[in-house]
Subunit: 282 residues, 2 copies
Amino acid sequence: MRPSRLGILGLGAIGGSVARQAKLAGVATVVGWSPEPSERVAAVKQGALDDAPAKAADVARVADLLVLAAPPAANLAQLEALAPHLPAAALVTDVGSVKRAIVALAERLGLGARFAGSHPLAGSHRRGFEASRGDLFRGAVVYVTPCTGGGGDGAAREISHFWETVLGAHAVTLDAARHDAQVAATSHVPQVVASLLAYFLARHTPPGASLGPGALDTTRLAASDSALWTEILLMNRDEVLPALRALEEPLGAVERALEAGDGPALAAWLTRAAEWRRRVDL
Amino acid sequence: MRPSRLGILGLGAIGGSVARQAKLAGVATVVGWSPEPSERVAAVKQGALDDAPAKAADVARVADLLVLAAPPAANLAQLEALAPHLPAAALVTDVGSVKRAIVALAERLGLGARFAGSHPLAGSHRRGFEASRGDLFRGAVVYVTPCTGGGGDGAAREISHFWETVLGAHAVTLDAARHDAQVAATSHVPQVVASLLAYFLARHTPPGASLGPGALDTTRLAASDSALWTEILLMNRDEVLPALRALEEPLGAVERALEAGDGPALAAWLTRAAEWRRRVDL
């Protein structure tokens, strides 16, 4: 679908970028809401929104496509609270990084034929409307997770079409459970690993020591919003916890190789990691 | 010192960059050697070297400053083999990331007043002469580690002066043992953590899954040269091994918080990491 009245709840880096890019793509009316009055003002002033009413329900009421762009727990609360206010034919999506809970809620609310989850792989460790951009989704992969049962696939097709034609993203349809298992490995574990290294360095960097570009890159994600990531990790903990435990075995292996002074084992371990990393850059 | 005949053994990303930048800075004669004939040819052709003889000893024989820029184990072997060929007043340094072993060897060879170790924080996960640059060291921190005993400080001052005036780096003098403990935390653990995550992702990324920019940044270091890092980690293993073990406690803490669904504990853990990471960016 190509909305003529796009509603966006949450004007952070993701929601703000949806707004900016939709206006640049010529969507007639983009209406948004943020709990932060200053973000609402800034978004209108900078032309990302045509209007920013003080109540979220006033956005939901007018939208033919509503995008929930708050943190995951707030998206769940908004979907439940605003479902009665949605126009009869309106479609709804969200942009959270965990998908089972919101897809299940949409089904329970009887929105299965009008809701599909979205997860754009275009985050930033920067936050707020000031981190939004007019090209954030161009070329980015967006996972779209349908509701099960009648009509779910149709809604997912419409939402995918929106991401592709309005925002220039590449939409990939994926079952919500498979999505959550996949991002546990490809996104949530990397977040925890970056934070783990930052946590270690916070304790073990001698005063005045310089950090090279490698340590800075490897910890960049650790600067992300802690409150947001607490929600994401808790909401996906049944997938994240076993994935984190799966780090212990290779960490033990490299420690044993070092302890034994086993050059070939250490080289094989590093080479396996290097080959994978060089391949994903291609 | 400002050399008039600079010798460089090893023409990879670091050695090649020393050559390029020295020529750009007007050093009269820069002579280099690499075990790879093609690198010797390329370095002369591209104006990074005035001459590239086929034997390393023919570089050592003419240099008033000799820079050992091979991997750490090869630097040790070169220093031992070439010490007899050095001109009487020549100074020597290396660019390896571990410093105790080579400083101790220089002392044992009686070069204590003519050698200081160097470690420029300007590496790259790319390798070979083609990864060298004419500005790699400009503004970079270079640790300079003196030999102990008579004359060590004087040699370290001369080597520091070379890094600063010829290559535009910022030299910081540091005891070799303190250096090795510090880089175990700030460089060697980040390397292992990036490789650990890559090793995990090599196994757990579903076929066709997309990786976001976060996972790519966090694993970038994993693409580094495995043979080089095997040497570095083994040479510093008495420092690296306890540092790696110190990762287990915070990893266990985040797992326990997830298992218990303990939001405040998880948020506190992530916040500590985030605050440190945001601070180092300032």
